[in-house]
């Protein structure tokens, strides 16, 4: 959902997934840059549509995704039709966090690998919070998270070598009783701040009423007003 007070088309996060390949991606476009929503969605879609596996090379996948996403971003902007103010800003590139996750079945559990740049988070919950990645302390959320950069727009050419962002990786196992949450920073910070009160139950209780529940938390100033993206993954016997 978009930040309270903003229009729906001003949402700058992105989430993509493929249940067949058990791949998930979430990105939080930085609002200080133009075309952040295009960059965020280019990143998540590039991962889901690629055949690269985090199990093979978790850092290399992020680098490859960044390159493919640059193609989508660069070609998705009608550079010659932009008004001067938008062209001058878009030329400096767009920024986004990125969290990728991939799972695969083994005999007695499900293995996962996740790679992250910035403060979009992965949580694994059994009876308690078992995994909190890449941030485990709510005080670590700041205003300047690490970001993936699109590189510059025109007049800089499309085919350039991009600086490799600082990628964190985690590997582990999950079980069918576990619940997994992928979330951008506002929800993630709230989850960690209220860990002892099992806040994830609010996300799991009633998906139809989730937007209202989040809006209530924002209005009570318990959660920061921002674009909100959260995905909850549970397992069934099928």
């Amino acid at each position: 959902m978009c930040k309270l007070g903003n229009k729906e088309n001003e949402y700058e996060d992105s989430i993509s997934y493929d249940m067949d390949t058990l791949r998930f991606a979430i990105a939080d476009g930085a609002s200080g840059s133009a075309f952040a929503e295009l960059w965020a969605s280019s990143l998540t879609k590039s991962y889901i549509e690629s055949d690269l596996s985090l199990f093979d090379d978790p850092v290399g996948v992020v680098s490859a995704i960044q390159k493919e996403a640059r193609n989508r971003w660069y070609n998705g902007i009608a550079w010659n039709k932009l008004p001067w103010f938008l062209k001058n800003k878009a030329t400096m590139g767009s920024y986004s966090t990125l969290l990728l996750m991939e799972m695969r079945n083994t005999d007695d559990s499900i293995e996962f690998v996740a790679s992250a740049v910035g403060d979009s988070c992965l949580f694994v919950i059994d009876q308690r919070l078992r995994v909190s990645f890449p941030i485990s302390d709510h005080r670590e959320f700041g205003v300047s998270p690490k970001l993936v950069w699109s590189g510059q727009g025109q007049p800089v050419k499309l085919d350039v070598k991009l600086s490799i962002p600082s990628v964190h990786t985690v590997r582990g196992s999950v079980y069918k009783e576990d619940r997994i949450i992928l979330a951008t920073d506002s929800v993630s910070k709230w989850l960690l701040e209220n860990e002892s009160d099992d806040p994830w139950e609010i996300l799991l209780e009633n998906p139809q009423e989730l937007k209202k529940a989040i809006a209530d938390l924002i209005n009570k100033k318990v959660m920061r007003n921002d674009d909100i993206t959260a995905a909850v993954i549970t397992f069934t016997d099928n």
């Binding site: 088309n9 133009a34 103010f85 001058n88 800089v156 070598k161």
Partner: protein
């Protein structure tokens, strides 16, 4: 806590620039080959450009700020808005109405690490004028009228920031009274900020930026002291911004540059406009 209001389209901020256009502004600015009028005009154009840049999103320029520009001295005893047919306008309006565009160049480092020089379009809203006397009292009174109206409509917004750029004493009376009235105005988020930048013709004179004591100013220059008294004390967020730039400031520092050259003019404008921008939501 003051000076903490979120700046958003529902709760915009306000900048008013007051620009001295008296005849003496045609003289060269200390440390520059160009006139005070040209450098001041260019600096205000650049600040508006920077503010528009910060407000630009994919869907266009969002109205996080209202902007007013008052010129004084372009005609004898006259102060008026430099925005055609308007007083204060939402910032998106300025993005649509530059007077003309200039091709400028800037250096960029491409992702391969190569430094490249690229051209970009830079908008010009105001041209330099240096024509008559210095009716600063009129300009401040006009700003007060505007601020009165604006505060009534935005009682909870970040307080207005007024930046006055001048090179000499008022020729239409004592501006201290109206300046004091302005400084006492404000919103529920804090008092209005009136900053003054005094431009110098000599690069050899002592320059002061954000002085915290009248004692630092030359005793022989009555105008220096008057502008100090006309300037707001820096609130904490602005003190922090100045400290981050390694400027010597204290809790008593005033929003004031005396005998400013181009560097001090840009520094003062940048701290004055960038600090509220950190409240952008």
């Amino acid at each position: 806590m003051t000076y903490s209001s979120e700046i958003s389209r529902r709760s915009p901020g306000l900048f008013i620039f007051l620009l001295d256009q008296s005849r003496s502004m045609s003289h060269k600015l200390g440390g520059s080959d160009r006139s005070k009028a040209l450098e001041a005009c260019d600096a205000v154009n650049r600040q508006i450009y920077e503010l528009i840049y910060r407000c630009t999103k994919t869907d266009g320029v969002r109205d996080y700020f209202d902007i007013g520009i008052i010129g004084y001295g372009f005609q004898a005893e006259t102060a008026d808005s430099l925005i055609k047919d308007s007083t204060m306008v939402p910032i998106s309006r300025l993005s649509e109405t530059p007077l003309r565009m200039e091709r400028r160049t800037k250096k960029m480092t491409d992702p391969d690490g190569n430094e490249i020089e690229t051209e970009f379009e830079f908008p010009i809203w105001f041209e330099p004028i240096a024509n008559s006397n210095t009716p600063m009292v009129r300009a401040l009174k006009l700003a007060k009228q505007w601020v009165d109206d604006w505060i009534a409509e935005h009682p909870d917004s970040f307080p207005p920031v007024l930046i006055n750029i001048t090179d000499g004493a008022a020729t239409d009376g004592d501006p201290l009274d109206v300046a004091r009235e302005l400084i006492e105005m404000g919103t529920n988020d804090g008092k209005l900020l009136l900053w003054n930048c005094h431009l110098s013709e000599s690069k050899d004179q002592k320059t002061l930026i954000f002085p915290d004591s009248e004692g630092d100013l030359p005793t022989t220059d009555k105008f220096a002291k008057q502008l100090f008294e006309m300037s707001s004390v820096l609130p904490e967020p602005f003190v922090k911004s100045a400290e981050e730039r390694s400027l010597a400031v204290s809790e008593n520092s005033r929003g004031y540059a005396y005998n400013a050259g181009l560097d001090e003019l840009i520094e003062l404008l940048d701290i004055g406009t960038r600090t509220p921008s950190s409240n952008l939501q």
